[in-house]
Symmetry: C2
Amino acid sequence: MPGTAPSTLTVAVVGATGAVGRTMTQVLLEKRFPMTSLRLLASERSAGKSVAVPGWGDITVELATPDAFEGIDIALFSAGGGTSKELAPEAAGRGCTVIDNSSAWRMEPGIPLVVSQVNPDDLEAHEGIIANPNCSTMQLMPPMMALRDAVGIERMVVDTYQAVSGTGHKAIVELEEQVRAHAEGRPKVANVYPYPIGFNALPHIDVFLDNGYTKEEWKVVTESRKILHLPDLRVSCTAVRVPVFMSHSEAVHVETTAPITPDRARALFAAVPGVVVMDDPTNKVYPLAEQAAGSDLVFVGRVRQDPSIPDERGLAFWVVSDNLRKGAASNAVEIAEVLVERGWVASASRRGVGAGAGGRSGA
Amino acid sequence: MPGTAPSTLTVAVVGATGAVGRTMTQVLLEKRFPMTSLRLLASERSAGKSVAVPGWGDITVELATPDAFEGIDIALFSAGGGTSKELAPEAAGRGCTVIDNSSAWRMEPGIPLVVSQVNPDDLEAHEGIIANPNCSTMQLMPPMMALRDAVGIERMVVDTYQAVSGTGHKAIVELEEQVRAHAEGRPKVANVYPYPIGFNALPHIDVFLDNGYTKEEWKVVTESRKILHLPDLRVSCTAVRVPVFMSHSEAVHVETTAPITPDRARALFAAVPGVVVMDDPTNKVYPLAEQAAGSDLVFVGRVRQDPSIPDERGLAFWVVSDNLRKGAASNAVEIAEVLVERGWVASASRRGVGAGAGGRSGA
């Protein structure tokens, strides 16, 4: 029993002045998201500032308080885990549907964790809060879905080459400053990262867990399982920050259940909406971080049989995507689009779907 | 029956003006290699130039011709595969022992391919040409040897983060120029690499093979098997160039035959000569490319159980080493040191070891 989309939609971006928040606003406009009102919310540090939004004039940033969510239909949050933990339930309680880019709610049972073209049906049961996956996990999911559906997946090993923009605007500024320092023969100063990211590879993203993995690496493990509905999927990951401004690259090594050839894998990948196969290496065609920047697509290349897995059950490939767009803002907007299309903007309970109906729809 | 080392040793560096060749000369001096004469050889482009060598005055670079090797006991080659293919047999035929850094001889049956602390006994059977492994393979071998000996190894997945210095001096200049261009707002120009390496991650090192792997990736597969004496070792690799000047970093995921804990692995790694364990991540202690530059050591950290392999048979870790030193020049000099210590400077046939005695010594 689908609900109905409001005829007028008020959308808010929370954390509107950050790197992801700004991209969220930009993507809402690019995609001509059917909103009749756009509000920008942020913390005290940014509230009161004026932001020029093409076609919408100057919008004054409002303070993100619980009551600010009155009358908002959909809020895209990118304001950090603490803010999400506090304000997302307040917003949901006021009838607002939250699409949250922080890690606060992702692994919470009953909260849908959604990649728009992978598990949109999971959105049906939402109770007002929907989680947007981590950028490193996000871009992996469309190709992994294709393999899961066609041949099954047993294990994936993923090593990442992550852009500084994932840390936020301040990290972009830090790398820019280190580049200038290097060019001018001055020492590089690190504030955002524990060591200079300029001309270095830092195997340290987010905090370390007791098992020796970083939280960033462990997100790839646990979020992949939840999104793919494969609770026992075996995953190992090393997450590494590299001196790249935009787009994450990932080296992936997959063990499948049934045999698969690179040709078939390329065809499967190319059939996934939002995935582009760039794979003609002898003609220097493979995905690159700088080329992927600004796109909402996931680029896959370097597809090859991994001979270290017997019986043609091994594949290696290379996945690149803009971490601020598909890895964050664009997927959040795509989730909002699915909600509107399917009439799921109101939460499942308000739509009359039983509160115990969590999980996938009957589809 | 060990031979005897000459009381006077003449050493030559071939390709003496290149990035690795210069480092070879530097390492020979640092290690106080017991040579009584040092000669620098190169192609026509560099012959006749004068190189200031601390303690040895100015040395004029000689043209590398077959006859130039008369009277040379040990020649360290880093002059490209074509030169090695042509001149190494000429040198060996004149009684010179060649330690070659190119890929020309590495996989040739009967040619020892040696990491100094991993398989030095393989040197005994040399017939005048010894191969120095590829930099990406080199730094992996000391920790992998420790695992092989203690618990056996079944499979390794390796993704690399490789410095531009591996391509040579011209690539260092190219990245420097791209950094300046970026700092000054000019477009980045790529000549050495197919795309700008500045602020990008290029999954393309050396040429592509028919199986979709690059030659660089495939070297890790085949050289590891030869060095470790594990012809059936299962290996997958993605080799990636990153905007780092010095030192290669590698994310490694290993499946062992018997169980192993991270604590035991750290103890095993630390016991290997030339390996340093830097592994206290909560205190921000892990190997970094910039910190490893200039050292002959292999740094290992981020050691953790890989839960995607059952029964504690999985390990993940991070290996960093200076690609010009341990990855090339220092290992070549270390091989020369073993040859001198063990009296194996002359080839096996001249030492009276049967020509059919290839492979390991009885040890």
